[in-house]
Structures are given as C-alpha cells and as structure tokens.
C-alpha cells in the first residue's frame, strides 16, 4: 500500500526546475522531455527534482543563487505549486545536496508522466523575472540553432 505523503507546499510557493539551456526552443518553450521523472540512485522512487522558494528564502537563497549553483549550461524555470497541482502533480520536500529547498514533483496518481502531461508542463513553465535579463543576453548565442 502506498504511503500517503502530505502535500504541504503552499499554493503560492514558487517551484523551480533547472533544465539544460539547450532544451529551450527558439520560440521560448522548453522541450517536453525536460519534465521527466528521474530514478533515485537505489532505483526505488521516481520523481522530478524541483526547488521550493519558501525553503530557499528561509535559508537566505534566491533564484539567482540557484541559477548560479546550476551553472551557465542550465536555465531555471518556474511554476507555482498551485499550477502544478492543477496539472495533477503532487509535491513534497526531499532535502538533497547542499542547496536548500530541494523537493519532489510527481503525478498525484503515482504514474509516469505521459508525453502530453510533460507538454502541458512545458507550456506553463516560465523564466523567472529575476533571470529574464540574463536569458535575453544569451539568446541567440547559447541556444540551439533553428532547425
């Protein structure tokens, strides 16, 4: 029987997801494949890694710090917890690594995310305003060439 994990993340909490910058298409939409679950090292649990802004802020970290921690090959995307729940996702905290606020995002029914569900996440993901300036500066240089 599956263990119930309380979904305690406030709906207005910003949820960050770092993805490889090369996976942003020229129209600004990320590839759907960026929103896949990943196996834990022991293979026991699958989820998509995210970071929660409330916990980051309590530890004195901002999205700029998160972006810096992931480096220039990545771009941090943002959702609200409420938006992800509307898409059928469940969120929980799962501290991992040195950066604070790490957590998990998975389909509420425990199933693997389908391609259509990944695509819906890609459509609502946005670049946080704090990072917009930096992204504009790199546009056309680091992003993949048009097909």
């Amino acid at each position: 029987m599956a263990v119930e994990i309380p979904d305690e993340i406030p709906p207005d909490c910003t949820v960050y997801r770092p993805i490889p910058k090369e996976n942003i298409k020229p129209n600004g939409t990320p590839m759907s494949s960026c929103f896949s679950d990943k196996a834990a090292e022991d293979g026991s649990s699958y989820y998509m890694s995210v970071y929660f802004s409330d916990e980051m802020e309590r530890a004195g970290k901002s999205v700029l710090d998160l972006q810096q921690a992931w480096g220039s090959k990545y771009i941090v995307l943002a959702f609200s917890a409420g938006e992800l729940r509307e898409q059928g996702e469940r969120l929980w905290r799962d501290s991992m690594g040195e950066f604070p606020g790490h957590g998990a995002c998975k389909r509420a029914d425990g199933a693997e995310r389908t391609q259509g569900q990944k695509r819906n996440l890609a459509k609502i993901a946005r670049i946080p305003p704090e990072l917009t300036k930096e992204t504009t500066a790199t546009n056309g240089r680091d992003l993949p060439p048009p097909q």
């Binding site: 129209n27 896949s36 389908t114 391609q115 695509r119 819906n120 993949p144």
Partner: protein, 162 residues
Amino acid sequence: MTLAESEQTAPNSTDAAIASANGSGTLLDPKQIRISRPGPDASVSTLLGPEQHPPAWVERLVLEEIPTRDDYGLIRLETLVRFAQACSALPNQTPKPYLGIGDDATIGAEWDIGRYHIGVQVGNNPAVDSIIFEVDREEPEESSLEGNVGVLAALMSSILRD
C-alpha cells in the same frame, strides 16, 4: 485536423515497409541505418523499404546526436531502432525536429510548424512510446506510437501541405 482524421488517410503499408534486423552486413536493401554500440550484441540495422526516402537528418540524429546527448548511456539499442523507424517513415521534406533526452530515458522529438505542434516520444519501455498533436497550444491529443507510425507520417504530410 485530428489524429483520428489522419488515421483515416494513413497509408496501410507504411509500417510494413520498415523492417529491422540484426546487422549481419548481408542485407540487400540499398538503404540501412546501422546503429552500433560496443559490446557483444553491438550492431543493429534498421532496414528501409526501397520506396522509402527518409528525411536526411534521421541518420545523423540517431547515430550521433542522441548518443551524444544521452549523458548516462541510458537509451537502449532497441529504443534507438524504434525511434529511427518512426522518423524514417516521415515525409523526406520533414524538417529536423528539436531533440530532447528525458531523465526517464525517453527520446523526445518535437516539431513546431505554424499552428501545429507534433511530438514523438520513444522510451526503453515501449508502453511509453507516443505521439502528441496540438493545434494553437490547446490541449494535446495523445496516441500510442505503436501501430500509428503511418498516422504520424500522414499527419506530418498534411501539415507540411497546409
């Protein structure tokens, strides 16, 4: 246009035109895409029917770009072959897709063509192989890729004519 409408116009022979075989090097067909990795069962060839003219980008995508992007070597040979087979059925004027490798070891190919979005996903578990089709960023229609390679080809033909 919907996936179901494309299904009605899909050629019945598209799937049958593609066969795969272990690469013995003795296959007589003029066109093969041979996919190899080190190891005892290294070579797999995707054999294309003589009437097939796959898009020019397929071979490079399958042989070079996907292995390069698959950082952890998670994508299995048979997954690459299924992806190559699906892409090889597309009209030869199909533009190169955007490519993504998911943390769940899926290969994702996407096309944004005018109002249309088409996505193909192939994973190590064939149950996750799928097509999505979307118009004007509305809710995507999703179908299994298995048995629908012809639908994908017909859909792409229709969009490219549009």
